[in-house]
């Protein structure tokens, strides 16, 4: 199916684009790495796609990659990834359309609007994804690890 993870090469060309050399030695310029399970399994299953959206390779486990390649890949992924992790919830207030959440995430303090109950969904493995009205997703990896106040606030809406 897929060439084993080690049978390819990934470089950054001078223009800053990712260059991918596949098992057959064909070089693809400007490739795009994508997480296939960004919420439930972000560190495994990363696909490399061509600029045309074609599937070039699929990396099962990032940890198995040689260090520099992994760094490069993680760096490229980080450019596109935006799923803030909610660390604590300060307040959930009634707003005109839904509820306004005031939170601290791993990317800093923010607030956003959650439209309805369906926007808060459990994922496999006990994590919870919260979708705001602009479709940005926030992740609570494990509600049990939140502080007591945050947990109580969450429980009123989920």
């Amino acid at each position: 199916m897929n060439p084993p993870a080690t049978h390819f090469d990934l470089q950054r060309n001078p223009a800053g684009n990712l260059m991918f050399t596949d098992a057959a030695g064909v070089v693809h310029d400007n490739v795009l790495p994508l997480r296939l399970f960004p919420l439930t399994d972000p560190d495994r299953w990363v696909a490399i796609t061509s600029s045309g959206g074609q599937d070039l390779a699929c990396i099962e486990d990032l940890a198995a990659l040689p260090g520099p390649t992994r760094e490069l890949l993680l760096d490229a992924l980080a450019q596109r990834d935006f799923v803030p992790l909610i660390l604590s919830i300060h307040a959930i207030l009634r707003a005109a359309h839904g509820y306004e959440w005031h939170v601290t995430t791993d990317r800093g303090k923010t607030h956003f609007t959650v439209e309805n109950d369906e926007s808060i969904q459990p994922l496999a493995g006990g994590s919870i994804v919260v979708m705001d009205h602009r479709n940005t997703r926030y992740l609570i990896t494990d509600p049990a690890t939140l502080d007591l106040k945050s947990r109580q606030r969450l429980e009123r809406y989920y």
């Binding site: 299953w45 074609q54 599937d55």
Partner: protein, 733 residues
């Protein structure tokens, strides 16, 4: 051969020596379609006909088998006819019967043909003996889909349902009694307080210190506290019982629903079922936790206060409780009225839920046809129905509380009059009278509460009835629940002379088809020809009425259903995605699939590329409110779902019908991966989907009319050639 119950002596009398009964058929109509029983009996020599009405023109008629040129059945809508053609035209005869008996008639005709063949070939007719037994035992099996009549009072059955928590229930009752006793102490203490303290204080007859009030106050406070604690505990225990019982009800309802066949779901409205699981069980929970326990309290207090009243002053008690029998009589009068009223209101409610669950999912159609006003009118009508049924029943029960208040006042009036006289007489103290008045007020209060319980009990009974009605439906499949465990099948399917009848409609009229492992069969034919029914039979969503389906040489009915279904991959015209992530949807048939398997299945179904482009990839939410996917994308996810379980038998029911040509091509490529190496039955209107098929089977009116490859069928210029021609014209236009 036991004699027929209808005409035991008559039949015996008519039989010649050595004549054996081979089959019987009881018709239920006469020539003018009036209900009238008649019996046809087939022996190894003759066909005999008895009429129930012995005074009729021809109570008995018989034909030697040699005299009969033919016997055939004709379906005529709600009724059917059996035509007998005799060699002499004067002997022709017709019988009529309701369509429910068609299956028996079929068996009878088959038996007759068997006998005639035996007679012609000179083979001893004993060969056909088993046929008769079979025909007799089949009975009215198919028409018995109606739910059983609910046995016993539904509320008593509810009690049976709560048996596992008997100890908790006993605890709840004990707490109730204790809490009630505690609160009943208050008036007594107050009575003593009045006599021992207040009156002497007022009259200043004795040396009474105000501090003597303290022990009484302490006692009153103590009972209040104890009553509060006990009531708290009791309410919690009872609420837990209610939740446990209704949770079990909901669970069993859902589990039971899952065991019912598709036939049941086709007959039922979704909204009604949802309202039974949701609203009705919730009502029951409220009933147990609030109304029922209140009632037990009330009964206890009622009896206890009555006892105290009589203990204090029998004559006064007698006078005060005079109006009670009148109340009891009134309650009895309106009982039936309330019960039917609450049942009507429950039905009206589920009708309204049905309208909602009909209109909300179908909102696109409603808007497209600009029928909003009509739906509003429809909802308004059902809502008004809810209002008027509730209004009617409210009129009855709302009559109660004021009436009982009136009786309370009446009872109190009696006490004041009689009490004042006895106090004047000197045989009663003011404190006792005070105590008496308080108890009487409580007594009537309990009576009022009990009458209210009465209304809620009837409401709960109506709900319980609706819940048990579902639980009492016998699952119609597991009559022959297969037990043979199987692993992976090779995929050989044989339809052996199968027939299927739904209600009075014969849908499959005899199909013989042998499908080799790995072969792909394309099913084509006009709609209503029985294509979908045939694949439903192959999935064992229904059982065949006659004949048998064999997979790998084993009768489908002997095989464990779940084992069999694990071998089946189903792709439907309207792919159904559950609420959840794309990954979860793909692994629906195999929840323990690894991510590698999920990705591989998606790749084979040509779904991988578009999934990759979604922001959340395989973690994207789909389903009712999730990510918007196109019809083709949803279909490819459902193909991946079928691929993942790696089924031996694949069923495609119009998998490409609802998408555009471009998407069809994509799906087509996905399907090519899917059908490879599997036995496939594909239904398609677009004949392109079937280009890989080894054989095409044309179904018409429940029978196979043509069978062969694409080229063969084109050459014969039959139905398939016509369909193909029509398709070509459509695609050119």
């Amino acid at each position: 051969m036991p004699a027929d119950p209808l005409t035991p002596p008559l039949l015996e009398k008519r039989l010649e020596t050595g004549e054996r009964v081979m089959a019987r058929f009881q018709v239920d109509l006469d020539q003018r379609l009036q209900f009238q029983k008649g019996l046809l009996v087939l022996t190894n020599r003759r066909l005999l006909c008895f009429e129930e009405n012995q005074a009729g023109p021809q109570p008995f008629q018989d034909w030697a088998l040699g005299e009969i040129a033919g016997l055939s059945m004709e379906e005529m809508g709600a009724t059917a006819a059996l035509h007998l053609t005799a060699t002499a035209a004067s002997g022709n005869r017709h019988w009529r019967f309701t369509a429910g008996l068609v299956k028996e008639a079929d068996t009878f005709v088959a038996c007759f043909l068997e006998q005639q063949r035996a007679l012609d070939g000179g083979v001893p007719s004993t060969m056909a003996e088993p046929m008769e037994a079979e025909g007799d035992n089949e009975g009215l099996g198919f028409t018995d889909l109606m739910p059983d009549v609910t046995h016993g009072n539904p509320l008593l059955r509810l009690l049976k349902f709560s048996r596992p928590w008997l100890r908790l229930i006993v605890l709840g009752l004990l707490l109730t009694i204790a809490a009630t006793s505690a609160s009943l102490l208050t008036p007594w203490i107050t009575g003593v307080l009045v006599d021992k303290l207040l009156i002497p204080l007022q009259t200043k007859s004795d040396e009474i210190q105000l501090r003597q009030l303290l022990p009484y106050a302490a006692m009153l406070l103590g009972t209040a506290l104890v009553a509060w604690l006990l009531k708290w505990w009791r309410t919690f225990v009872v609420a837990r019982i209610a939740e446990l019982v209704t949770s079990r009800l909901r669970r069993e309802l859902f589990e039971h629903l899952q065991s019912l066949s598709l036939i049941y779901f086709n007959k039922k409205r979704t909204g009604d079922l949802i309202s039974r699981i949701g609203t009705d069980t919730d009502r029951l929970s409220l009933f147990i936790s609030v109304n029922f326990i209140d009632f037990v309290c009330d009964v206890f207090q009622f009896a206890f206060t009555a006892f105290i009243l009589f203990k204090i002053h029998p004559l006064l008690a007698f006078a005060a409780l005079g109006p009670v029998p009148l109340v009891a009589w009134l309650v009895k009068c309106v009982r039936g009225h309330l019960l039917s009223g609450f049942a009507a209101s429950s039905r009206a409610w589920s009708l309204m839920t049905s309208v909602l669950s009909d209109t909300i999912p179908g909102v696109r159609v409603v808007k497209a046809f600009a029928q909003e006003q009509r739906e509003i009118a429809r909802f308004r009508q059902t809502d008004h129905h809810v209002f008027s049924t509730n209004d009617r029943v409210n009129r009855t029960w709302s009559f109660f509380s004021p009436m009982i208040e009136m009786f309370t006042d009446l009872g109190l009036l009696i006490i004041w009059v009689v009490g004042a006289m006895t106090v004047a007489h000197g045989s009663l103290t003011v404190g006792v009278l005070w105590c008496f008045v308080t108890y009487t007020t409580r007594f009537y209060g309990r009576l009022e509460a009990m009458s209210r319980f009465f209304a809620s009990a009837q409401r709960a009974a109506a709900s319980a009835h609706r819940v048990f009605e579902v639980l009492d439906v016998e699952p119609d499949m597991p009559a022959t629940e297969g037990t043979r465990r199987i692993g992976r099948l090779s995929g050989h399917i044989e339809f052996r002379d199968i027939k299927f009848r739904h209600g009075s409609r014969q849908i499959i009229r005899g199909i013989n088809l042998n499908i080799a492992p790995g072969e792909m069969i394309g099913l084509v034919g006009p709609s209503g020809a029985g294509k979908t029914t045939l694949v439903n039979l192959a999935c064992r969503f229904f059982d065949v009425s006659e004949g048998a389906i064999l997979v790998d040489g084993q009768d489908l009915r002997d095989i464990h259903v779940e084992d069999f279904r694990k071998n089946i991959g189903l792709v439907l015209q309207e792919p159904y995605l559950f609420f959840g992530t794309i990954g979860d949807n793909i692994s629906y048939g195999k929840p323990d699939a690894t991510r590698e398997e999920i990705i591989a299945a998606a790749k084979a179904a040509r779904a991988h590329e578009f999934i990759m482009k979604l922001v959340d990839g395989y973690d994207s939410m789909v389903g009712e409110r999730g990510q918007q996917l196109s019809g083709g994308e949803r279909q490819r996810i459902s193909i991946a779902r079928a691929l993942l379980i790696d089924p031996a038998i694949l069923i495609l029911d119009e998998a490409t019908s609802s998408v555009d040509t471009e998407t069809e091509r994509e799906i087509q490529r996905a399907l090519d991966n899917l059908v490879h190496g599997r036995t496939t039955i594909a239904i398609a209107h677009r004949l392109g989907t079937l280009r890989l098929a080894n054989r095409l089977v044309v179904l018409e009116d429940g029978r196979i009319s043509e069978i062969g490859t694409h080229e063969q069928l084109l050459k014969t210029s039959g139905t398939y050639a016509r369909l193909h021609q029509a398709m070509q014209e459509v695609s050119q236009a």
